[in-house]
Amino acid sequence: MCSTNLIEKSYKIIKISGDENQRTLFFDIGMKENVLPGQFYMLNYNVSQKPFSVSHFENGILGITILKRGEATSKMVNAKIGEYVGLTGPLGNSFDLTSYDSYLLLGGGVGSAPIYFAAKYLKNAGKKCYVLIGARTKSLYQYTTDLVGNVDFIKYYTDDDTGENKGFLTSGIKEVMDKYKIDTLNLCGPEKMMTTAIKELSTYNTNIEISMERYMKCGVGICGSCVLDDIGLRVCADGPVFNYNVLKKSSEFGKYHRDSGGIIEKF
């Protein structure tokens, strides 16, 4: 039973970036871990625990990007260097970043976190990598801008006009798909964004992988709070990445999720 990734260990915050709306916390978890884009950690800060994708992993340094949303994340974005944070992981599966040659990555909102990590991973592996990132405002995607010039294509979209392109990232899909040879797509973001993207892509017949977000109580595949309707799969343990061929059989994808008590909430 030596599944040590399931056991929480606390690490010191060694670096912080971003602002009080969205922080990236860095931890030195060491080189022995193999962390892949799409995987996530349960992060326990002062006995508040939530799931977060890995946005950075290099030389044993793990980065987690936290958007201030509600109770837990409001505390987490105020964490200080030197404080200890409990990390359980890496958990879940990862994007398939090896089977294809040319990738289009879509990251909406803080869904850009695993997309950012995936883009770096793909370039290290010498793959073609095209990226569309959308955010409410420019400061929220700022942490990913070292991708510019390092990937084969990248375009940022914002809801407001702080960035170069106002509008939804989904509006950029057609351009990339028509201009470049894309073998597969990896999506992470709000489900409305992802369902719109899938509609855009309906004519292209490409492979699509989707990183899902659901309320998670345990993160280790046991409590049942993250299970998707119809298909009965656990986002935390069978996901968070699902092939669209699987996900399209789920009756809840794009339509609803459940709250901490299991009560359905429509999107």
Binding site: M1, I7, E8, N44, N46, V227, R258, G261
Partner: protein
Amino acid sequence: MEKLHQCSIKFGSLTFKRNGVLASGILGVTGHSMASVANKGAGGITCKSISKNKRKGHPTPVVQVFENGLINAVGLSSTGVDNTNLELEIVRKKSDSVIIASVFGGTKEEFRETIELLENANIDAIELNISCPNVASEFCTPFACSPTEASSVVKEVRNSTKLPLLVKLSPNFPGIGNIAKACEDSGADGITAINTVGPGMLIDINTFRPKLSNRTGGVSGPAILPIAVRNVYDIYKSVKIPIIGMGGVTNFEDAIQIIAAGATVYGIGTAVMYHGVEIFNKINGEINEYLAEKNIKYEELIGIAHQI
């Protein structure tokens, strides 16, 4: 999908078409979740304990893994009986599994009232969770603490349902045999054992905080197997009603042990974390091979450790 290993095991008036019961609290929130576990191998599913009144449960972290199992204090979060009934309806529609509704109440009366609300539910049995260790401060000592307390709940609810009534017992109080016997005498049709052990606590060595929001949580998984085996053994010695034996069962040898100790069917909770829901079908297949190799019938295995 792999072929499911079918069988036919009489459990009082119920018949399991496959061995292996999904323990309460594990993947038991939604109907599709439970149906999926059944369709991948489990012969019975138990929903997360429900109560008449909606309950929030504890804030996260509610599960913390250690090297030999985990501690949990999910707390009794419940969306209420109506919501759960709808979910259990889905299990019925999508699977052929035995459906057990786990019921929790803070008082005897709440137990009864919750069961009354289940009157039209499409279920096969009711399990009284009188042994949750994670709500002790909220509700004082669980009813599973003594023969008198345990049987008082059984008596209170017995006439409110015609369904088989199982009682889920705790390993944390002495004399589980007597407690089981008192339940049997008060009309229980079966025993489920064991609930989690302890409770336990884990402390982070850098923050010095207990790792669960509730501080303490019941221990489950491989760590508790010997305790489960002994409890099932003691219960089998004391009662004639059948037992769902669980606690640390992680592979087929563990299942054989708990059946040899006296369980009619085995149950699994924590092992799903290690091996996924495929664990039921895997164990069921291995039990069949084992029976074939030894050339014995499944029924002979139940409680065989008592005959030696």
